[in-house]
Symmetry: C2
C-alpha cells in the first residue's frame, strides 16, 4: 500500500481548510501545520496560493463528476437520481450547518475577492446544472429541463445558507421534503 504523496496531502488539507475557514483566511502556515511540513517544503509543490486553489477546485470538480457518474450508473430512474442530489443536504447536514455549501460559499468568496479562479469555481455549479438538466431531459422535460435544473440548484443553495444561519435540522428536513414533493409534482405532470 503506497503512502499518499505530500502533494495529495496538501491538496486534501487545503481543501478542508478552505471550506472551514475560507480561502483568503487560510494561510500557508495553516496548511503546512495541518500536513506537518515546513512552509519551505510547501513551495516545492505549489508556487503560489492561486496554484493550490486551482488544484483544490480541480479536485472538487473531479470528485463531483465521480459522484454524479456513480449515481448515474446505479441504474435508478432519473427522478431517483435527482433525489440523490437533493438528499446530500440531509447526509451532509452536519458540515453544511457549520460551513454552508462547499461550492456556494467558495464561489461567493472568490466573487468578493475578485479572484481570477472564480470562473473555474462556478464551473462546478455548471457540472451540477448540466447533470440535473440531463436527468430532467430523461424524464421527458426536454423544453424546460435547464430551468428545472436551476430550480433544484437554487433550492439546495437556499437550504444550505439558512441551515448555516439557524442550525435547524427540522428546517433542513422540511425543505428537503418540500423540494422532493415539487419533484414528484414535476414527474407526475410529465407522465400525464
Amino acid at each position: 500500500m503506497t503512502e499518499k504523496s505530500t502533494r495529495d496531502n496538501i491538496v486534501e488539507a487545503a481543501h478542508q481548510l478552505f471550506y472551514e475557514k475560507g480561502f483568503d483566511h487560510t494561510s500557508f502556515a495553516d496548511i503546512a501545520d495541518a500536513v506537518n511540513i515546513s512552509r519551505g517544503n510547501f513551495y516545492y509543490h505549489f508556487k503560489t496560493k492561486d496554484d493550490i486553489l486551482k488544484a483544490v477546485i480541480d479536485q472538487r470538480m473531479a470528485a463531483t463528476r465521480d459522484m454524479l457518474d456513480a449515481w448515474e450508473k446505479e441504474g435508478n430512474t432519473p427522478k431517483e437520481r435527482i433525489r440523490c442530489f437533493i438528499e446530500i443536504m440531509i447526509n451532509n447536514r452536519a458540515k453544511i450547518k457549520k460551513h454552508g455549501c462547499p461550492v456556494g460559499t467558495l464561489t461567493s468568496e472568490l466573487a468578493k475577492l475578485g479572484h481570477p479562479a472564480l470562473g473555474e469555481a462556478n464551473e462546478i455549479f455548471t457540472v451540477f446544472r448540466d447533470w440535473l438538466r440531463r436527468q430532467f431531459e430523461q424524464m421527458g422535460r426536454t423544453k424546460d429541463a435547464d430551468e428545472l435544473a436551476l430550480h433544484v440548484l437554487a433550492g439546495s443553495q437556499g437550504i444550505a445558507t439558512l441551515a448555516s444561519a439557524f442550525r435547524d435540522d427540522k428546517f433542513i428536513k422540511r425543505e428537503v421534503e418540500a423540494l422532493g414533493d415539487w419533484l414528484d409534482a414535476v414527474a407526475s405532470e410529465t407522465d400525464a
Copy 2:
C-alpha cells in the same frame, strides 16, 4: 444642512466595502481611502476592526427594520407585503449579481472566520424571519407561519447565490415569479 459626520461616513464606506470585498479582505486603508481620511484618524472613531463591523451590522439592522416598518405602514395586505420582500431580488438584481445577498454572504463569511459577531449578523435574518412570520399569521396561517417564513427566506437566498454565479436576469425573474406563484397558492389555501 448639516454635513454627515466622519463616523457616519466611515460606517457607510465600510458597509459598502464589506459587501463588495468581504469583511476580512477589506483593510482599514481601504476604508480610510474611501472616506479620504488618514488611518490614524480612523482609530479615533473605531478602536478595532470588530468595532466597525459591529457598527455596520447595527446600521444594517436598523435599516432593515425601517424598510420592513415602511412596508407595514403602506397599508397593503400581508400578501402584498411579502411580495415586496420577494421583489427586492428584482429591484436589487444588479448588486445581487455582483456581490450576492448582503446578509447571506456576510453571515457565511463570519461563520468561516469564527467571528464573534456572527450571532449579531444572524439576527438580521431573524428580523426578516419574524417579520415574514407575522405577515403569514395575519394571512391566517397561525400554525405554520414560521415554516412559511423560512421557506420564503430560503427561496430568496437560493436565488441570490445562483444569480451571483450565473448572472442570469431571466433566471432571477423566473424564480421570483415561481416564489410569487407559491405565495398565491398559500394565500388561496388559506382563503378556502
